[in-house]
Amino acid sequence: MIVEFKLTNLPIGEKAEVVSVLAQGVARNRLLDLGLVPKTIIEAVRKSPLGDPVAYKIRGAVIALRAEESSQIRVRSLN
């Protein structure tokens, strides 16, 4: 069964596939420009001391996203 969830809930060290970006307007453009288009594989690398933002590996670069942004991204588990 394919489970779909918010990127915010992806555990550290695990990978998922982007399903959709829910953000609108400038925020949406920004996320798409960072390479977060559907079918992109994304990996949660580590948490900052306070738990937010979280560093993600996206298409060869590590990028920090706040929960505000990652909650706008729907992903699904790879297996």
């Binding site: 400038v26 453009n29 920004r30 420009d33 960072l34 390479g35 996206i58 298409r59 060869g60 670069a61």
Partner: protein
């Protein structure tokens, strides 16, 4: 005199560019994602002969430098590092405005070979605005260290623009880059960039407005690109185009007024 629309923004930089002591035979823009070694390429080409200039109203700095190649003066403009030209930030707006309104003779996109994929977004966006685009794949040595081999010939075939490998830190590939810049800037070579095709719905909408847009722009801009921005609902670019056309109109009027004065003096 306070700051007017004419004294700030991209226009101020363009004026300064015109008044440079060395007359430029060609103006080349350097674009690229942040941290791709863009400024290293810039310094490598110009021999650190740069002087940075910023203008009021923008916190962003554009660096300008010159080099000579085959007895021609080439002015190089280092744009701020951006992931995109869709103007989500001041940096992106500066980069976009220069590519759109600065009339560069060529745009060199500097890409990081170790994460080429994410750099191609910007390359495609530049290619959509101007066919005179060159891709410089920098940091080839680091990619090799990571056991990555890049098929440059295939990349060139897919994109339809010249692709030049480089290790700017060690000045590898810069000679070839200068040669390619020369070819593209002086029209000895016309890149044929792959045109991006969108979904049927978007293409249908484009077809509907593009002719109208083309008519309004009178060939001053790439109408497909402007039509796409209109569909995007990007108001900032529409405002900029409007200002740009207004400035052209003002310049035309000033020119005629000057002529009238001359005639009056003669009478």
């Amino acid at each position: 005199m306070g700051l007017t629309a004419q004294s700030t923004g991209i226009n101020a930089f363009l004026e300064e560019l015109k008044q440079s002591s060395v007359k430029a035979d060609a103006v080349i823009a350097l674009a690229g994602n942040p941290n791709t070694g863009k400024s290293t390429v810039f310094n490598g080409l110009t021999g650190l002969n740069q002087h940075t200039g910023n203008w009021p109203g923008k916190t962003v700095i554009l660096a300008k430098g010159n080099y000579q190649h085959q007895r021609k003066n080439i002015t190089l403009v280092d744009l701020p590092g951006t992931y995109s030209l869709l103007a989500n930030s001041a940096d992106e707006q500066v980069a976009r405005d220069f590519i759109c309104f600065g009339n560069p003779d060529a745009v060199v996109v500097v890409a990081d070979a170790t994460c080429l994929e994410r750099n191609l977004n910007l390359s495609l966006q530049v290619m959509e605005i101007t066919p005179r685009t060159i891709l410089c794949v920098n940091l080839i040595d680091e990619a090799r260290r990571k056991k990555m081999e890049i098929d440059l010939a295939k990349l060139e075939a897919i994109l339809g623009i010249p692709v030049v490998p480089a290790v700017a830190r060690e000045k590898v590939g810069l000679k070839q880059l200068k040669d390619v810049i020369d070819k593209v800037a002086f029209g000895k070579k016309w890149p044929q960039p792959k045109s991006m095709e969108y979904s049927e719905t978007i293409e249908a909408a484009l077809a509907e407005i593009q002719r109208e847009v083309d008519h309004l722009l009178q060939g001053k801009f790439n109408s497909r690109w402007v039509a796409l921005r209109l569909l995007d609902g990007d108001n900032s670019i529409i405002t900029e185009i409007f200002h740009y056309l207004q400035r052209l109109e003002i310049k035309k009027q000033e020119y005629y007024q000057e002529k009238v004065k001359v005639v009056e003096c003669c009478e």
